[in-house]
Amino acid sequence: MKTKSFYFLTIVLLVCALKLVQIGYKRIHFSTDLFLNSFKKNFGEEHAVSENVLEAKKLILQSQISNFNLSNELVVNAYFRQRIIELSYPIRLNRNSKFLIAKNSEVIKCKLKSESKKFKFYEC
C-alpha cells in the first residue's frame, strides 16, 4: 500500500514539476534575472516590448510633454501604436497633439525637435 502511494506521489509530483518547467521556460520565458530584479524601477521593458517602441518612448520622455501624436505610418502599425500607448502612459496619445513622432524615412513638414536612430520628433 505504501509503495503504491509512493509511486502515485512520485508520478504526480513529476508531472507537476515538468509542467511548471514547461510553463516557465517555454510559455512565459521565465528568467532568474527578471525574478531577482522584479521590483526594480522600469526593469524588464526591454524584454516586454520591441526596441522600436523603447526608442520612441525615450524620445517622448526626453521631450517632457504631456501628449503626443503618431505619424500615419506609425499609427497603422497596431503593435507599435498599442505598445507606445501602454509604455508611455501617463503621457497620452492625442490625435490633435502638436508633438509628432514619425519614422526617419517619413517626410514631415514640421519643426524637428530631436531624433534617434529610427524616429524623429517634431513640433507642428
Binding site: 514547461q22 510553463i23 516557465g24 520565458h29 521565465f30 522600469n42 516586454a48 502612459y89 496619445l93
Partner: protein
C-alpha cells in the same frame, strides 16, 4: 431511521480563504470610495499577513502542496514580463492608469475606448495598490497580485477535497489545463477558478445541504457564517473580475433557481440576500460606466455595419462557421480530455452524486451554449475571434469538469 451522509470541509482553510477574499474585496472597495492611501496600504499589509499566515502557520501543515503550488506560481509570475496582448493592453494598462491617476475611475475619460474601459477592475486595483506601495511601475511585479486573487478560490476547492492525494491531482489538473493563463497577467484563469469555487459553494450551501458544520453549537453557527461569507466574497470576486465572470455567476444563479423550482424547494430570504449582495458591486460598477458614457465593446460593435441578427443568421448559413466551431470549440484537446474524465466518473459514480452531476452539467451546458451564441454574434472575423479566445473561455468548462470529477471521490464523510 434515515441515514444521511455529511461532508466535512477543512474549516480552517474556509476561514483563511474568507479573510483573504475579504481583504481583496476591501482593496477594491477602498479604491471605489476613493479612500485615504494609508487605508489601502493597511489593508494590503493585512492581506500579506493572511497569506503569510497560510504559508507558515502549523494549522495548515497538511496543505504543504498547496503552499508550494502558490509559491511556484508567484515565482513564475515574478520571473516573467507581461507580453501577452490582453494582459498588457487591458488588465495591466488599467492597473497602470489607476496607479498613475490615483483613481479607480480613470478609464471613465474613455481614453483609448477599444481597451475595454467598461471592464470591472478588481484585479487591476490590487496591482495598483502594490505599485503604490513599491512607489513605481515596472513590467514585472504588478501582475503578480493575480496570484493573491487566485488563492481564496484555490483554498475553497482544496478545503472540500480534504484528502492530500486528491488535492495533488487537482493541482496537477490546474497546471495541465490552465497553467500559463494563471501567471501571465490575464484574468481568464482566475475566472475559471472562481467559477469552479462558486459552483462548489453554492451547490454545498443551497442545493445539497450535506455539510457537517461541526459538533458544537457555537462552531456550527460560526462555520456556517464563514461558508456563507466565503460564498459572498468569491461570488463578488467572480463578477468583478471580468464581464464573463458576471455571466457565469448569472448562470449559476439561474441554474440554482431552476433546480429549486424543478425539485419544488423554497427560495429562502437568506438566499435572496446572498444573491443581492453578490450582484450589487457589479451592478453599481456598470451603472457608473453607463452614467459616464463608457459602454462595453461586445456585441453589436465592430468593423462592419450589419446588425447582430444579420451577423448570426449569416454565419448560421455559412458552412465554414460550423467547421470553425468544430475546430475551436469541440476539437480542443483539453476540453476533450476533461470531458472524457468527467464522462468516466459520471458513468461510475452517477447514482451517488446525481444532484451534483445534474447541477454541474446544467451550469456547464448553459455556458457552452452561450459561447456559441456569443461567437456567432461576435463583431470581428469569426476565425480570428475563435483563434484568440476559444481556448481561454473553454478553461472554465475544462476546470469545472476536472474538479467535479475529483470531488466525487471525497472520502472524509460521517454518517449522522
Amino acid at each position: 431511521m434515515s441515514v444521511k451522509t455529511f461532508y466535512t470541509p477543512d474549516w480552517k482553510l474556509i476561514r483563511i480563504s474568507c479573510f483573504i477574499s475579504l481583504a481583496v474585496f476591501c482593496n477594491y472597495l477602498l479604491w471605489a470610495i476613493n479612500s485615504y492611501s494609508f487605508l489601502k496600504y493597511f489593508n494590503f499589509s493585512l492581506l500579506i499577513f493572511l497569506i503569510l499566515n497560510f504559508l507558515i502557520n502549523k494549522d495548515f501543515k497538511d496543505h504543504n502542496y498547496v503552499r508550494l503550488f502558490f509559491i511556484c506560481l508567484l515565482v513564475l509570475s515574478l520571473g516573467s514580463v507581461t507580453t501577452d496582448w490582453d494582459a498588457r493592453s487591458v488588465w495591466l494598462f488599467h492597473a497602470k492608469r489607476i496607479f498613475f491617476d490615483n483613481n479607480l475611475y480613470s478609464g471613465f475619460d474613455n481614453y483609448e475606448p477599444e481597451l475595454m474601459n467598461a471592464y470591472p477592475l478588481l484585479a487591476p486595483s490590487l496591482s495598483a495598490t502594490l505599485a503604490k506601495i513599491v512607489g513605481y511601475w515596472n513590467e514585472i511585479f504588478p501582475k503578480s497580485t493575480n496570484i493573491f486573487v487566485l488563492l481564496p478560490a484555490l483554498l475553497v476547492q482544496c478545503s472540500f477535497l480534504k484528502n492530500y492525494k486528491l488535492n495533488l491531482i487537482w493541482l496537477m489538473f490546474i497546471l495541465l489545463f490552465s497553467g500559463r493563463i494563471l501567471v501571465n497577467g490575464r484574468t481568464d484563469g482566475l475566472v475559471a477558478m472562481y467559477f469552479v469555487s462558486n459552483c462548489l459553494i453554492i451547490f454545498s450551501l443551497f442545493i445539497e445541504n450535506k455539510i457537517n458544520y461541526g459538533t458544537r453549537r457555537k462552531d456550527r453557527k460560526l462555520n456556517e457564517i464563514f461558508l456563507l461569507a466565503s460564498g459572498i466574497f468569491t461570488g463578488i470576486t467572480l463578477t468583478l473580475l471580468k464581464n464573463e465572470g458576471f455571466v457565469l455567476m448569472l448562470i449559476i444563479f439561474l441554474t440554482t433557481i431552476l433546480y429549486k423550482a424543478i425539485n419544488k424547494k423554497s427560495f429562502k430570504s437568506k438566499e435572496l440576500i446572498f444573491w443581492i449582495i453578490i450582484f450589487s458591486p457589479f451592478v453599481m460598477w456598470k451603472l457608473m460606466t453607463i452614467y459616464h458614457g463608457v459602454y462595453p465593446r461586445i456585441l453589436g460593435y465592430g468593423v462592419d455595419d450589419i446588425s447582430i441578427y444579420e451577423r448570426i443568421t449569416g454565419r448560421l448559413l455559412h458552412l465554414n462557421s460550423y467547421k470553425l466551431f468544430i475546430t475551436y470549440l469541440i476539437l480542443n484537446e483539453k476540453f476533450i480530455l476533461s470531458l472524457i474524465i468527467f464522462s468516466f466518473v459520471l458513468y461510475k459514480n452517477f447514482t451517488n452524486n446525481k444532484t451534483m452531476f445534474t447541477f454541474v452539467l446544467l451550469n456547464v451546458i448553459s455556458y457552452y451554449i452561450l459561447l456559441y451564441i456569443i461567437f456567432l454574434g461576435a463583431s470581428w472575423d469569426l476565425e480570428m475571434t475563435l483563434n484568440s479566445s476559444a481556448h481561454r473561455v473553454l478553461v472554465s468548462i475544462v476546470l469545472a469538469f476536472s474538479f467535479f470529477s475529483i470531488y466525487t471521490f471525497k472520502n472524509k464523510t460521517i454518517k449522522l
